[in-house]
Symmetry: C2
Subunit: 435 residues, 2 copies
């Protein structure tokens, strides 16, 4: 036996092994918090100068504030240099992501009730948002599409993207994706200093209302610290997949699905849940064969050995229970009846149904977002969507007769809460009607 830990729901030690699997996911270090806080304070105090200093220190590139912003000409030149096949793939992805996010747009609520009160809920777009895109080797054009397109579909007018340019390097595909996604400003800065600049503004960068997108520990800590000044999305942890697969799958295909998650990052987690012990061992063997070569085999092997797991369960109903406790970011259901199994799943970020629907499809072109809740937060959080870029305003309209119908109850409650002006703001108007 080689590879990752094995668990078996029929064995005595299962609960404690499973508990350690649940506890596996890491959280932000306080070191990152302290460093991020110092960077934010410096950017608030000294603006562009501080951003330039941190950029020189962390990204090893010297920039004057006039050079923070990537010019239209640079973006056009990058886009023009993209191979035709990739350009078409980006177009297809952008179109499909936009179509799925358009289908999510909510409707306003407006009602008039028996008391004559009219009331409702009106959705509106944020004025401006910041999109954080990791730089360097992990600068993924797909993440640009996934974070900016929902903002554009929601109706956000100003979409400011920040992406660090280590040693001055920017990925042309990232710029090409920004153009297709409707990004209105691209800034070649990153880290906690970029989060601070977006939250508080500098001489050259206007503040935004909300900051979204994944980043490293310093970015995550900075987002947590500016929360309240601006909105933020979830704090992203390492990526995860749970694959539920029965014995009728090709072990090699499932092995590659697990490695597609493991190759992201040494801290990533890939878990196989199966009701077939022999199939589980075949997958483990196929993973080892796949790990024998390839440019990302080292990362994938480290992830698989440290965080991977094969869980043997009695049946698919038990598999669903385990999935709900894991609340994974990604879930593949490679079984004969995936729709029936999906009905038993309560907690997962994104689900891929059936044997011919690998998770990687959703990373790029399927349409749903790939920025998803990690570290078991799918219990309460959701993937990025148009809802991240919309807000609601409730409204009420009551004429004198409607006020007379429901006002006295409000007066009674206000008096019981010891808030006399609350009560009087209603009773004065009712007295006016009586007079």
């Amino acid at each position: 036996m080689n590879g990752p830990r094995r668990l078996d729901t029929r064995e005595e030690g299962f609960e404690s092994s499973f508990a350690s699997l649940l506890a596996d996911r890491v959280s932000i270090s306080t070191d990152a918090e302290a460093a991020a806080a110092a960077i934010i304070a410096a950017v608030r105090a000294r603006g562009d100068d501080a951003v330039a200093e941190f950029t020189a220190r962390f990204d090893r590139v010297t920039l004057t504030p006039e050079r923070f912003r990537v010019t239209e000409a640079e973006i056009e030149a990058a886009d023009a240099a993209i191979p035709a096949e990739l350009s078409a793939a980006l177009d297809l992805a952008a179109e499909r992501i936009a179509a799925f996010h358009r289908a999510q747009m909510p409707s306003d609520v407006a009602m008039r009730d028996a008391s004559g009160v009219e009331l409702g809920l009106r959705w509106g777009a944020l004025d401006s948002v910041g999109v954080y895109v990791p730089g360097g080797k992990a600068a993924y054009p797909s993440s640009v599409l996934m974070s900016a397109i929902p903002a554009r579909v929601a109706g956000v007018e100003r979409i400011a993207m920040v992406v660090p340019a280590p040693e001055g390097m920017l990925n042309p595909l990232v710029l090409a994706a920004a153009r297709r996604a409707g990004v209105t400003e691209v800034w070649r800065i990153g880290g906690a200093q970029a989060v601070a600049a977006l939250a508080y503004g500098t001489e050259t960068i206007s503040p935004v209302d909300r900051i979204v997108g994944p980043g490293n520990a310093f970015v995550a800590a900075a987002k947590r610290l500016v929360f309240g000044q601006v909105g933020i999305d979830m704090i992203a942890g390492p990526s995860e997949v749970v694959v539920v697969a029965d014995g009728a799958n090709d072990p090699r295909v499932i092995a590659v699905d697990l490695l597609a998650q493991a190759e992201h990052d040494e801290a990533a987690q890939a878990i196989l849940i199966t009701d077939d012990r022999g199939f589980g061992e075949s997958v483990a063997a196929a993973v080892e064969e796949e790990l024998a070569s390839g440019p990302r085999a080292g990362i994938a092997a480290a992830s698989w050995r440290a965080h991977g797991a094969i869980i043997l369960c009695r049946d698919l109903a038990e598999a669903a229970e385990l999935v709900n406790r894991l609340a994974p970011e990604h879930l593949e259901l490679a079984v004969a009846e995936p729709t029936a199994l999906f009905a038993a799943i309560r907690h997962a970020g994104a689900v891929f149904l059936g044997r011919t629907c690998p998770e990687a499809l959703g990373d790029y072109v399927a349409g749903p977002n790939h920025i998803l809740p990690t570290s078991r937060t799918a219990r309460f959080a959701s993937g990025l969507s148009v809802f991240d870029f919309l807000k609601r305003t409730s409204w009420v309209s009551a004429d004198e007769s409607a006020l007379a119908a429901i006002g006295p109850a409000a007066v009674a409650l206000a008096e019981a809460e010891g808030l006399p002006a609350h009560a009087r703001s209603i009773s004065l108007r009712l007295a006016g009607r009586a007079a």
Copy 2:
């Protein structure tokens, strides 16, 4: 001239005065953060014992863990002692709040596109939530209804309410409201220790998935610190109202509306925006008369003098611009054509249309939530709603033909991003089809 600051958009110093008004809203002190962090660490390490110690220290009540939970018998006894008029008012409020929140429930998305890919978004309720209710004098039954009813409407099965009981005192109306709101557990604890217990669990209190509801600076700091372990709603600041009123209003009625906000808290903020200088001064005079007596006049006067403002503007179009910059929690539009003015408002938590619809109606019985974004966060945040208790799972289903249609684009993007197993998880399946 007496009372609060006056601003006039036609005067030269307006922009700097308005900027100081925008900066007026306070934020969490770092003292509260450090204290909350210590309390959270103690509760994580020592569970119930730590909760009991902090409860003894801060609420001056000695409780064994068996007494943390308020019993069904205590809740029933409290409810039975409520006067009939208040019981009916709570019933009316609960019914109206539930009806409006039911109307907000979103629909799932399911679509099949031209490539044969099926995809969708499925909404589901959280399993468990914690509702924080401030205790002592500010223990408002209306806030219990506003925080717990949306959770019940969303379908949350476990709704755990925490409410501190200073010197052992609990407001019977709060317990009666909890019963009507569908709260499933009531715990007589509060502060950062209650937030920690809800986030991490103790021997007697099971952890929840999300914590909502307003609290003092320590509660707000604790919520910020447990964010990620559990979900949280916005960090609540002092309450605010902006009243836009033309000269055709009764100055006394508008004065009382302003004081209904000011009486909440010395840090509350009430702002009048009017296009009629004489009316503004009449309101100021009426406020002074109202402040001459009443049980909350001291608090209201302190709020009005420190944070209140009367802003004279040229016309209602300019008023709308000022409102959008203030992004107030509450907005009253006491003008002849409130619907037209509302169309120009982009940022506000809750809006009250017309001269006969005071904000206090929304605090109790109108139906929309009164837990709303403060401190200008209505730019990006929304009032509490069923959406706080729901999450989305996206799903994709692709058969072999759909995979063949969109898979190659995903393969191209995965290879461009340097993620070979991503590409191979698709190409292996396409090869299987070709074979």
